[in-house]
């Protein structure tokens, strides 16, 4: 049977030898299989498009313009989502509030990742006394409940910081406070993950090999070890965006987060509990946006976790 190989079968064998997939192609393929994560991406893109694109249709002034004569109007052709207690257009406020909520999520995540990765990487790579100090500090931070801290700092600092102009908009100082406070109180989990990974990776032979070629410590940390632990960082960062949006909504709902008249999805809910039944459009729209956004980000995080899992990758 061995001699039965006819000539025209040989080109097929050559064709079958496709170049191996790059890691990112493999991850993308696996991510696509996760239907909910793909749905999450679509919903999140719609949300982003809604908050950014909507700004071209409605001016920011419309989200701030108060007219008590039309307060608490139900959705109508003029005000698609209705009006709030002082007669502001809820549609415009969800657009501009969305910008701030998403921005808070994004920047708080960046703050969290920078702090968490830095502390985790230094502690894990150098070990010893530095590790002890940084990890005790991390544990101390974990002991402070985030929400009360947010409330206290929000209350204390919110009106102390001058408004900032960014992307052609003016943001109240309380936005900055919320971003910084959320970012600086949520990095501990990530720092621990990064430290654990660094602890095991620094013992790998390729790290010794890198040191053997005279590579400097910072280059080993950021160019050699860090790329090896990107998967958990990416997943953590994704979920951090969702958590930051939730945290912001929480404190703003309690009235000490981002201060009105600047809208966020969170502070639009502030006061809505008085009208839960009489004016449900007050909370339905911002609530719906928060839920959809956070849910879709969580699905994306799940999908990324599965797609980036190295053990699962090895099986394909």
């Amino acid at each position: 049977m061995g001699t039965d190989l006819s000539l025209n079968e040989i080109p097929k064998l050559v064709e079958a030898e496709k170049p191996p997939l790059l890691l990112r192609q493999l991850v993308f393929m696996r991510f696509k299989r996760h239907k909910m994560a793909v749905a999450g991406v679509i919903i999140l893109l719609i949300m982003i498009f809604y908050s950014i694109g909507g700004a071209f249709l409605l001016d920011e002034d419309e989200s701030l313009y108060t007219d008590t004569s039309i307060r608490l109007n139900a959705p109508s052709s003029e005000h698609l989502f209705g009006t709030d207690v002082v007669g502001r257009d809820i549609l415009a406020r969800t657009i501009y509030g969305g910008q701030i909520s998403l921005l808070i999520g994004l920047i708080a995540m960046i703050v969290e990742v920078i702090v968490g990765v830095l502390i985790g990487a230094l502690a894990g790579y150098y070990g010893g006394i530095l590790d002890s100090i940084l990890m005790r500090f991390t544990e101390a931070m974990l002991n402070i409940p985030q929400i009360p801290l947010l409330l206290v700092l929000g209350k204390l600092l919110a009106d102390k910081i001058a408004p900032v102009a960014l992307f052609g908009r003016e943001f109240s100082g309380s936005v900055i406070v919320i971003i910084v406070v959320i970012g600086l109180t949520s990095w501990m989990g990530l720092a621990r993950i990064v430290r654990a990974n660094f602890l095991s990776l620094r013992e790998q032979e390729f790290v010794t090999a890198a040191r053997c070629t005279g590579t400097r410590n910072w280059s080993i940390i950021f160019e050699h070890i860090l790329p090896n632990t990107m998967a958990p960082i990416i997943v953590s960062a994704t979920l951090a965006v969702a958590n930051a949006i939730i945290s912001e909504a929480y404190v703003s709902f309690l009235g000490v987060g981002v201060l009105p008249p600047t809208a966020t999805w969170g502070n639009m809910l502030n006061g809505a509990y008085n009208y839960i039944e009489s004016a449900p459009w007050l909370w339905i729209f911002p609530g719906l946006f928060i839920v959809l956004t956070v849910l879709s980000i969580n699905f994306i995080g799940d999908g990324l976790r599965d797609a980036l899992d190295p053990r699962a990758l090895a099986q394909d």
Binding site: G128, E205, F206, A210, C212, T213, G214, P227
Partner: protein
């Protein structure tokens, strides 16, 4: 004559909960330019710790280089500032490791890993470094070097990865290459290729090589001189011919007997050395090989034998077989 590398009375210990592990106990040797030194011994006898100490890559703590001088081109590496040491690593002394599967970073392309060292030490532009990297890859026998520059380690076989490691080691024309069991993880035909490659590159680059192995067969191919280590001590030191033709220390003899031979009979069993190397935490005052030594006398357990010259360029540490021994033949 000034040697390229001189190691005097190197002692390394590791602090553990159970006590100090005496990993290297007063090792001294010299290495001349262009020569190859083989360090042979069982697992855990201090071979790797010795060379890692030369590179100052022992983790401190728990490790500690408690004594010794390592002169490289006349400079004591053990007293050097860490910045100066980083200049020497890779540029003057390069090292390749046992397992090519784990000694390359899985998330960086091999081209980047090699060119990085070139940029770091030779201070050349990125394009120049890429050119040199491709040349190195061709030199170590990677086909289609240019295309493979952007490949990741998992796209290479074990032997090819070891070639990449060698290319990485050679990237800055070091004067000393330390090879820590570079062929142990490879199969026999690839072993031979790597040994041949190292030999030809050695003469091409005029390098000295320290080749660590527990396989005397491999080291016979490449080494000029051999050091046999046991429990952190050098037990015998000689040139390659003497080791194979006239081994003196009982441990060296036992190692040679345990090599499989082409001319042995089919049903002969391979000889083994009974027992295992001692725990280096509580080394006895005597010779560490006593419990496994068929020739041991009372003195062996009480006094440590010094490494003594028994003939030209042949040193042995043994009360029975060595210079002061009665059974010397």
């Amino acid at each position: 004559m000034v040697h390229l590398l001189e190691v005097h009375d190197l002692k390394v210990q590791f602090k553990t909960i159970a006590g100090y592990v005496q990993a290297v106990n007063g090792v001294s040797f010299n290495l001349d330019k262009g020569k190859t030194l083989g360090i042979v011994g069982e697992s855990g006898c201090g071979k790797s710790v010795t060379v890692l100490s030369i590179m100052r890559l022992i983790a401190e703590p728990p490790g500690e280089i408690s004594n010794g001088v390592v002169l490289f081109e006349g400079n004591d590496l053990l007293k050097m500032e860490i910045e100066a040491m980083q200049e020497i690593r890779g540029k003057e002394i390069a090292m390749i490791f046992q397992d090519p599967m784990t000694s390359l970073n899985p998330v960086l392309t091999i081209g980047k890993q090699i060119s990085e060292a070139i940029i770091l030490h030779k201070k050349v532009s990125k394009e120049e470094a890429i050119d040199q990297t491709v040349k190195l890859l061709e030199m170590v026998g990677i086909p289609l070097a240019k295309e493979r520059y952007n490949d990741y380690p998992h796209q290479f076989s074990g032997g090819m990865r070891q070639r990449v490691m060698i290319a990485m080691g050679l990237s800055c024309n070091p004067s000393l290459l330390i090879a820590d069991e570079p062929t142990t993880a490879l199969d026999v035909t690839i072993q031979a290729q790597i040994v041949e490659l190292t030999k030809s590159l050695q003469s091409q680059f005029d390098m000295s090589v320290i080749w660590i192995t527990h396989d005397l067969g491999v080291v016979a191919e490449i080494a000029d001189n051999i050091i046999v280590m046991y429990a952190g001590y050098i037990v015998e030191e000689a040139n390659i011919y003497t080791i194979f033709e006239n081994p003196v220390h009982p441990y060296t003899k036992a190692l040679l007997k345990s090599l499989p031979r082409v001319d042995s009979h089919r049903y002969d069993r391979l000889e083994i050395i009974p027992g295992s190397p001692p725990d280096c935490i509580d080394l006895t005052v005597g010779c560490p090989f006593v419990p496994r030594c068929p020739y041991a006398i009372d003195r062996c357990a009480d006094e440590h034998p010094p490494l003594e010259l028994i003939e030209d360029e042949h040193k042995v540490a043994c009360w029975v077989m060595g210079a002061s021994g009665s059974h010397n033949d």
